[in-house]
């Protein structure tokens, strides 16, 4: 690498990164949803998405996955459809024509709709088998209907149980609410899902397990580890910003991602994360929750070593980054020369 392109020693890269993301923030849209084209999955975009990432929220508002398929599947639409049926979550209520419930005896009759069942490739037998596996439930076929008996006794818990049963899943992967088939220019099909469940998707045949993409940062961290989460934070930031037609160097976004993950866990930017866990009492107090930080500091006998930027500005000393990092030393003999 040539020297002229390298960062200068002491360059406050953090502040530059913060500027580079914050300054174009005013140009971004505040609207949170957006669907690229009509038939697509809803995702959060613009400033709300940036805030969502940077805040380190446990679950994105609109989790989303991109699922690519193995070579045997990806070009055959019929097979793609098969996979689709296997992943899209189907709740019992979605395939019902009507139902009858008796809150006294704890018996419920479910009447499935044939058309709807066909669409998802389910039979009443599948449903009753699924239900029978659940704890405290007797399920059997009763003519057209599925007869469900629960063992709860008081009306209130019977009712809540019934509601739960109807909301339970009979087919597909839990959490995958909607699947959209999309086609690449090369003719390959891939699936975009709303809802994210990496572990669930991995168990489906035909899915290319090595190229699963999810926008759920915490899930990615749980399944693939912190480095994957770090890359995801940077990519998601980059994609969100670029969608607004703004260019920001990946260096800045990487730095944010690294700042959030370098301890091995995802820390949010802000009061509960990086800024709130700083070593310096003054830096924390000058940011937010001033009184809390001062009172706690006295109980724990904390010492502020005055190394950061905020605390040095506070007490009126030179800051330790940029040109403030440079210290000059003069040799004694030179000093004598100058003094003469």
């Amino acid at each position: 690498m040539e020297d002229e392109y390298n960062v200068a020693e002491g360059e406050p890269v953090g502040v530059v990164a913060a500027h580079s993301i914050g300054e174009p923030g005013t140009q971004m849209v505040l609207r949170s949803f957006h669907s690229a084209g009509i038939a697509s999955v809803i995702t959060t975009t613009g400033l709300p998405r940036i805030i969502e990432i940077v805040d380190g929220r446990k679950k994105p508002k609109f989790p989303m996955m991109i699922v690519r398929l193995e070579s045997g599947y990806s070009k055959n639409y019929e097979k793609v459809k098969e996979v689709w049926k296997k992943i899209e979550e189907v709740k019992i209520s979605a395939v019902l024509e009507r139902f009858e419930e008796n809150l006294k005896t704890g018996v419920m009759l479910l009447y499935p709709n044939k058309e709807k069942m066909e669409r998802y490739g389910i039979t009443p037998g599948v449903i009753s088998k699924r239900l029978a596996k659940m704890e405290g439930i007797d399920a059997s076929l009763d003519g057209d209907a599925i007869k469900v008996k629960v063992k709860e006794e008081d009306t209130k818990s019977i009712r809540t149980r019934f509601v739960k049963i109807r909301a339970s899943i009979v087919a597909g992967v839990k959490g995958i609410m909607k699947v959209v088939v999309q086609q690449e220019d090369s003719g390959e099909f891939y699936l975009t899902t709303s809802g994210s469940n990496i572990e669930g998707i991995m168990e489906i045949d035909g899915v290319d397990k090595e190229s699963i993409y999810s926008n759920d940062i915490f899930e990615v961290m749980r399944v693939y580890g912190i480095e994957a989460a770090r890359i995801l934070i940077a990519t998601e930031l980059k994609n969100t910003i670029e969608e607004e037609g703004i260019t920001v160097s990946f260096r800045h976004l990487n730095l944010v991602a690294d700042a959030m993950t370098h301890t091995g866990v995802i820390k949010s930017v802000g009061r509960h994360g990086i800024a709130g866990e700083k070593n310096s009492v003054f830096a924390r107090a000058a940011y937010e929750e001033t009184v809390k930080h001062f009172t706690n500091a006295s109980i724990f006998g904390e010492e502020d070593m005055l190394t950061g930027v905020a605390e040095n500005i506070l007490i009126g000393k030179q800051i330790g980054v940029g040109t403030g990092k440079v210290r000059l030393a003069v040799k004694k003999q030179d000093l004598k020369k100058i003094m003469k």
Partner: protein, 852 residues
């Protein structure tokens, strides 16, 4: 005068003994001044606590208002009171210690297990979270889980006493199984907890003994901290803190009297509670669960916590940001005769602001000459070696001339070439503060080149900007070498140019370099002379000069440059513009490839002058050619109105067809949407198309003879959409990203029928600005405008906070000598910045070099 440098600051709590040791006076009188207007001894503004009135002497140190720093006093409380900010800590301590033997509710074995970990944690080594016992103290939070667990312990592992449940009723009342524990009892309890046990809880007993959190003695800050002000009427007005202190003393006194008089317990408890209230609000007047203490005017009192907290608090308002001298602020305006590196400063400002000249052995002559001056750049002040600042007047000039010697500092007026920091708020990035070279000008505004307005995000509709003069040599050097606009030409965000030519200049440049442009000798000379070139390019056969040849005169002779393809192709060979038009992608805001190239190859100074020359030339070309728009440019032609009707009819037909399909239930719902949502989606897409169809039509039918269209095409100003809206139709209005939908039952305005499905009932506007809008259309348009105005004001608040958070999180990061990123504590954030250690400013240039 250099104060001794602070190394570190330790936070502790004051013990009653140290409060008494600090105190110079015990305050006993719940009042301020006596009838003669003198401070009462032992009152809230006792003269032993320092003085603020000129003329009075401090009774402790004998200093006057200016020299006395103030001294602390104290109030002795007859009954102990809980410090409200520590109530939670006290609560946790009570919960985790035994009510009988006051030991920590943790078995000896457990203690032995945990002690070494606490030790290593407190010493800052962190703990191994894999360790089972370590789970008791979570990293980053020294006490949370440890204490949470202890409160569930039912029986003391040391003495076997069963533990009763303790409750904290906000803010400061403690109950054990429903019975109130009084502060004096709590104090006894807390004082019996051993230091060893406190350490186990993560506390530092040398910094804070828990019984100190219950106040027997209240420290009173010096009067300098709470000065009283004299109003114009001669009436004195006391600081909020003084008011509160008087209240505290009054409650304290009353409590004391009643105790002495042997009043019943209920009355004493009431007064005690009142004292607790006064002290609670003295510390924090926003304590949840406590009524706010107010002035007689119902304005809430600003007590200690309020002084520190928030944006207007001490930390953010006075310490993180400070007021400065040597600064100016006024309205800005543009000046095409300045370079991007200059700032035009009004004479009045230049005469007032000063720059120091440090007198040394080597510059005595210059210094004396300066001091002798009586006209414009004169010396305003002389600062002696002792730091005494004297204003130079006619009468003392001779005297000062004699006194002057090395070590003196002269403050002279601002002159051309001085460096000044120029800033516009909001200061969103580092380019919002740059060091310009001063050019003193007549007039009363600060002036800057239009090209440098972009990084500041400034315009000239009344914007104001600030000017700061760096005083020390170090600050001046830093400004000179790091902060000048010419060195900031590339954005640290993405490496693209931040300063470029815009609007008129783009239009002028088009006039200058398009392939048909020819200039007479007279015009060519004018253009070239204006940029200081005294020769003409090669004459054409017709005796005219080609615009491109004229422009090429300012290009470096060894410049080769290729950019773009097709009709956007630009070729420069050996410093000659061969083909192409220099548009926004070459020298403007969208890319500025040529500027980047020149900046990298020829450096900051050349780019500065190149930009200036290019501006000047293109503006003269624009003057000579003349370019203007008129309403005529927007007149609707026959063809346009035909097309417009066709577009509207088409849109309506298609929309009706979709509605029809919906009504007949033939419209298939898109996956994940209801049928109604699908209808809305399809209609929106269909109606939005109308505008782009119109734009396409205009692009095909208009010619560059139409100046408004020409300017849109070369991206000087305006775009095709403006044209469409002015001459053809406004199109679909949007509220919250959708068609307007709210208002009356089933309709937006009462002028429509219920459930009207026509496009115009949902914000589709058929009129153009030129025709004028119908009242209904105007209303719908205003709905859209209001929505975007509101969104805009909201987004500034949201993104402003995001920026503050990001900066606070990352402000300590810096790149070390090896390109690694570290924070203030020395933690490694990145091993190599961006993976290659490259400066993002240089990113584009490096990428281009790689391609070639």
């Amino acid at each position: 005068m250099q104060a001794e440098s602070v190394d570190r600051i330790k936070f502790t709590t004051l013990s009653p003994e140290s409060i008494k040791r600090m105190s110079v006076a015990k305050l006993i009188v719940a009042d301020t001044y006596n009838e003669d207007g003198y401070p009462i001894d032992g009152g809230a503004i006792d003269q032993r606590l320092g003085v603020i009135d000129p003329g009075l002497k401090c009774k402790t140190c004998g200093g006057r208002a200016k020299s006395c720093p103030g001294h602390f006093g104290h109030i002795e409380l007859v009954r102990p009171v809980i410090h409200p900010e520590f109530a939670k800590t006290i609560y946790l301590l009570l919960q985790s210690t035994c009510e009988k033997c006051y030991r920590i509710l943790m078995s000896e074995e457990h203690i032995a297990e945990i002690r070494p970990m606490i030790k290593s944690f407190v010493e800052g080594e962190g703990i191994n979270t894999e360790d089972s016992a370590a789970l008791i103290i979570k990293e980053g939070d020294r006490r949370g889980p440890a204490m949470k667990k202890l409160k569930t312990v039912k029986k003391c592992p040391h003495c076997g006493t069963p533990q009763r449940k303790i409750k904290l009723e906000r803010p400061t009342f403690f109950y054990i199984e429903g019975n109130r524990i009084r502060p004096d009892e709590i104090k006894d309890w807390l004082s019996k907890i051993t230091n060893d046990d406190l350490e186990l809880l993560g506390m530092d007993p040398t910094a804070t003994r828990p019984e100190w959190l219950i106040l027997n003695v209240l420290l009173v800050p010096p009067v300098n901290v709470r000065p009283s002000i004299t109003l114009e009427s001669g009436e004195r007005s006391e600081d909020d803190l003084t008011h509160k202190l008087v209240d505290i003393m009054r409650s304290n006194q009353k409590l004391s009297q009643d105790i002495d008089a042997g009043a019943p317990q209920i009355i004493i408890d009431d007064l005690w509670e009142l004292l607790q209230y006064q002290i609670t609000t003295y510390f924090n007047n926003e304590t949840p669960g406590v009524p706010v203490a107010r002035h007689r005017s119902t304005k809430p009192l600003k007590t200690l916590a309020q002084r520190l907290k928030g944006k207007e608090g001490r930390l953010r308002y006075n310490l993180s940001g400070k007021r400065v001298n040597f600064s100016a602020r006024t309205v800005i305006s543009c000046d095409a005769m300045l370079t991007i590196n200059q700032v035009g400063v009004p004479m009045k400002i230049a005469e007032t602001l000063t720059i120091p000249i440090y007198a040394t052995h080597w510059n005595m002559e210059l210094v004396k000459d300066y001091l002798k001056r009586t006209e414009y750049p004169i010396v305003l002040n002389v600062i002696s070696k002792e730091g005494v600042r004297k204003r130079v007047t006619e009468t003392n000039r001779e005297e000062l001339l004699k006194a002057i010697q090395p070590g003196y500092i002269l403050e002279r007026q601002l002159i051309d070439g001085d460096l000044a920091l120029f800033n516009r708020q909001p200061t969103l990035h580092r380019l919002s503060l740059m060091a310009h070279s001063v050019k003193v000008l007549p007039g009363k505004t600060l002036r800057l080149n239009t090209s440098v307005a972009a990084p500041y995000n400034a315009d000239f509709d009344g914007d104001e900007m600030n000017l700061h003069l760096p005083q020390s040599i170090e600050a001046q050097a830093e400004a000179r070498y790091l902060m000048q606009p010419k060195d900031q030409m590339l954005s640290p965000r993405d490496g693209k140019p931040t300063m470029f030519i815009e609007e008129d200049e783009i239009a002028g440049l088009y006039m200058l370099v398009n392939e048909n442009s020819r200039f007479t000798k007279y015009d060519a000379s004018r253009i070239l002379c204006a940029v200081g070139i005294n020769e003409l390019p090669k004459q054409g056969k017709d005796g005219m000069y080609a615009g491109r040849d004229i422009f090429s005169m300012i290009l470096p002779k060894d410049l080769d440059f290729n950019h773009g393809t097709g009709n956007r192709k630009v070729t420069i060979k050996d410093g000659k513009l061969i083909e192409g038009i220099l548009g926004v992608d070459v020298v403007g805001g969208s890319g500025g490839a040529l500027l980047r190239e020149i900046f990298h190859k020829y450096g900051a100074d050349f780019t500065e002058s190149f930009l200036k020359s290019m501006c000047t030339m293109s503006l003269i070309a624009a003057y000579r050619h003349g370019i203007t728009i008129s309403i005529k440019d927007y007149y609707e032609t026959e063809a346009m109105s035909r097309e417009k009707n066709r577009i509207i009819k088409d849109a309506e037909d298609k929309a009706n067809a979709i509605v029809e399909r919906y009504r007949e239930k033939k419209l298939e719902a898109l996956p994940g949407y209801s049928r109604k949502e699908t209808l809305e989606l399809e209609l929106r897409v269909q109606l939005d198309i109308a505008r782009s169809v119109a734009a396409k039509f205009l692009e095909n039918s208009l010619t560059p003879e139409n100046n408004a269209y020409l300017m849109a095409v070369i991206k000087a100003r305006g775009n095709i959409l403006n044209f469409v809206q002015t001459s053809m139709l406004l199109g679909q209005q949007a509220v919250r990203g959708r068609r307007p939908s709210r208002g009356y039952n089933g309709r937006i305005l009462p002028f429509f029928k219920r459930n009207d499905m026509r496009p115009e009932a949902k914000g589709f506007i058929k009129s153009s600005y030129l025709e004028g809008l119908t009242p209904v259309e105007l209303y719908l348009h205003a709905m859209g405008s209001r929505d975007s105005a509101m969104t805009k004001s909201l987004i500034t608040a949201v993104s402003g906070y995001l920026q503050r958070r990001l900066i606070n999180a990352m402000q300590d990061f810096y790149a070390d000598g090896q390109g690694a990123v570290k924070d203030a504590g020395g933690a490694l954030i990145e091993t190599l910045y961006g993976g290659d250690g490259m400066d993002p400013m240089m990113e584009q240039i490096a990428a281009k070099k790689k391609r070639n």
